[in-house]
Symmetry: C2
Subunit: 446 residues, 2 copies
């Protein structure tokens, strides 16, 4: 008789880090983020738990935590989702359940909550399989992978048959690319020099350090003041030289005409891409920005779902697709997006940073290289050197490249001591600050 392995609990933690005190992560739209996670632990009767999370920047993290809690009845008491079939079924249940879907559909708080639970299930299943998630995925057959994808609303751009053909075409090279990935690591770029709250000296010093550390690309935040951006771009270009790529990131600050004007002004410094020039919902707007100025357009970290990515590709609105591991409904949604990008021949350069996003998304980029696009040409994973110390299997970035994770799972597990210390609002890190209200440390003003 088979040993049953059943989900016994969906444990949820509200964890926040006081990053606003150092202006780490500051940009034109987010002046003082406290990087936070609504963190989920999927406990089962049969072995170690799975871990997943949503990333937020402080206030409202309690709403994310409540949304994850609301998903408990869909998993607790059910068999542990350990197979490709079960992981596909769980994703469909959490994104198609009619009352929950009404709260999106497939967007915002409920969709991110589904993503945390789906990703926790992938951590669980890969851990049981004894493989890191990138390799767990890369050992599945093309047919198994296609069955993980929700093709609803996608078939005018990508059919299951087309997806199967993409995966089959990449199959013969999987072993060679896996070996090369293990030997060389995956290319990275660093955002650490470019936060908007850093002064010019810190910007130049960190840009020089990035080049010395082997990075071929850095990124600067822009969009608050054009004079400042011109000066910072000039300083950064002087610091890194002509061969290192400098991406810029406006974090959704502009309207379309403003984006075109601003990037036309910055173009002489040869920025490599302009990231999030305007609203992440504005497919036609991104297409207009791409057509109206010479710099490549990148977006996706806030794109709500598969359907938005589909249209960005259909409309020719982006040169670079930026997936986020925790904004959409987990691995399954990102598999759909990787396949769409491969169909349209657009490179995927994942968004990372925040809390644990580097840890998660490296698996998806590496799987893309091994088994979907089959290429890392013009592909880089964002790297930000914050908060990795709170994870039990932190990313390792050396000479500008992510080392392929070897430990089983999704690198998603936070250290128990970190969870305890940063628990909001009553963990010691927060108790040691001024007595916060239930919604954050910052004053809110109406």
């Amino acid at each position: 008789m088979a040993v049953t392995d059943t989900v016994t609990e969906l444990e949820v933690h509200d964890v926040r880090f006081p990053t606003s005190e150092q202006l780490d992560g500051s940009d034109a739209m987010n002046p003082d983020p406290d990087y936070s996670a609504a963190y989920a632990v999927l406990r089962t009767s049969g072995g170690p738990p799975g871990h997943g999370f949503c990333f937020t920047i402080g206030r409202g993290n309690e709403v994310m935590a409540e949304a994850i809690r609301s998903l408990a009845p869909y998993v607790v008491g059910h068999p542990a989702p350990l197979t490709a079939d079960a992981l596909g079924a769980l994703h469909r249940t959490l994104t198609h359940d009619s009352p929950l879907r009404w709260l999106g559909p497939e967007k915002g708080v409920m969709h991110m909550a589904a993503g945390a639970v789906v990703n926790a299930a992938w951590d669980l299943a890969a851990t049981r399989a004894g493989l890191p998630v990138w390799e767990f995925l890369a050992t599945m057959t093309p047919a198994e992978l296609v069955a993980l994808v929700d093709f609803r609303y996608l078939t005018d751009a990508l059919t299951p048959g087309e997806a199967l053909a993409i995966l089959r075409a990449a199959e013969p090279g999987r072993a060679a690319r896996t070996a090369r990935l293990r030997a060389e690591g995956y290319p990275a770029y660093t955002t650490s020099p470019g936060w908007l709250g850093y002064d010019d000296g810190k910007l130049v010093r960190l840009a020089e350090e990035a080049v010395a550390d082997g990075f071929g690309q850095i990124k600067l935040k822009v969009g608050a003041d054009l004079g400042d951006d011109l000066r910072r771009m000039r300083l950064a270009r002087a610091a890194v030289g002509p061969a290192v790529r400098i991406a810029v990131d406006a974090n959704q600050r502009w309207d379309v005409p403003e984006a075109v004007r601003w990037m036309t002004a910055l173009a002489p410094y040869a920025p490599y891409w302009i990231e999030e020039p305007t609203s992440p919902d504005d497919i036609l707007g991104h297409a207009a920005v791409r057509a109206g100025q010479p710099v490549k357009v990148a977006t996706g970290e806030h794109a709500a779902n598969r359907v938005v990515f589909k249209q960005l590709l259909q409309a020719g609105a982006v040169d670079i697709v930026q997936i986020d591991a925790a904004r959409v409904a987990g691995v399954n949604d990102n598999l759909a997006i990787l396949l769409l990008a491969a169909k349209y021949g657009v490179p995927v350069c994942p968004h990372a940073g925040g809390v644990g996003l580097c840890e998660l998304v490296q698996h998806l980029a590496m799987f893309d290289y091994v088994a979907v696009s089959g290429s890392w040409e013009d592909r880089v994973i964002e790297y930000v050197d914050h908060l990795h110390e709170h994870f039990t299997d932190p990313v390792v970035v050396e000479r500008g490249r992510y080392r392929a994770p070897a430990a089983p799972g999704f690198s998603a597990r936070m250290k128990p001591a970190s969870l305890t210390a940063h628990r909001f609002p009553d963990g010691p890190v927060w108790r040691a600050r001024r007595a916060p209200g239930p919604h954050g440390t910052q004053e809110v003003t109406a």
Copy 2:
């Protein structure tokens, strides 16, 4: 010395109605909704409170309630928002606050929560002014109305100057249209005959009753089975005759190619519009459906925000814009959408039904008639005859027309006895049913 009027409390209720027992509201995507509201009461020190709510269909309503609660620090302790200036500032605060924006941006649970609070503030302000919301809006100057709108991300389609010109052009006719609206009421259509769970006899009987009641348009749910839809459409057409419009509503059921095929098959019965043929996020998909078959395309009840509506209009994707009073961030967002629709010359036919959506949205359609589009040609407000008895100022629909509300406020106040009886999970209506879990009465399956 002025009497201060300060917000003292944001009270939140989780209220649910067991509508799934009668299959009221059943459609191709939502087989068993329990119509629900996350209901907000904005109490102040200076007079009667304001009321607003999000509409959901059951499970997850507790997440909406938590999201509304998270907005308390932005209003409680601040001056009551009673003026146009204050209502504009409140909307901007709730939609632009950086950590809350991260949870959307401008979409899903947090955005709907902002809508509930913004609408409660409009109920409060209009009540204090002694006017129904439609008239409160229609007595503001064009400049005051323009200042209520968030033009971020809209200026490539609509500038403040263009909005001002639209409102000024409608200004001379305001008085005459107000008089006509009071005398005649605003045109309505009814969805009551068409729920997917109703049998053919009930469909025919309710369709005949709708015509006898004076409605010039009815609506049928479609999308689950083409044979059923062809039969129901034939029965409905026979019941209402050739002169009454029959809209059909697929509730997002189809992919683009399927929508084109299905509507081509239904076209011989002359459906007036096809509503929500596919994903509400799929701007390009709606444009393709509109181009690929002969029936007018309508959508909007699930469109996440201003930016999606902007693109639906820019892309020529819709013949009819369907605003929802409680999906976007309240009156201010809907004012932006009404102005965008007027700019593009597309009629607005509001979505309603659910719990209290008819009560709210009538004010927006009437304001549009009086002060924005200046027309009710080819414009109708949806009417569904459920749950109005729970409101203190319910809609009045006579001979197929909504009577203009005369009572001050937004018609948003639920009866205290209804709030108590339907409180979830411990109100008497729910205690009388089988002991529910914390997340709903239905079983959930993974």
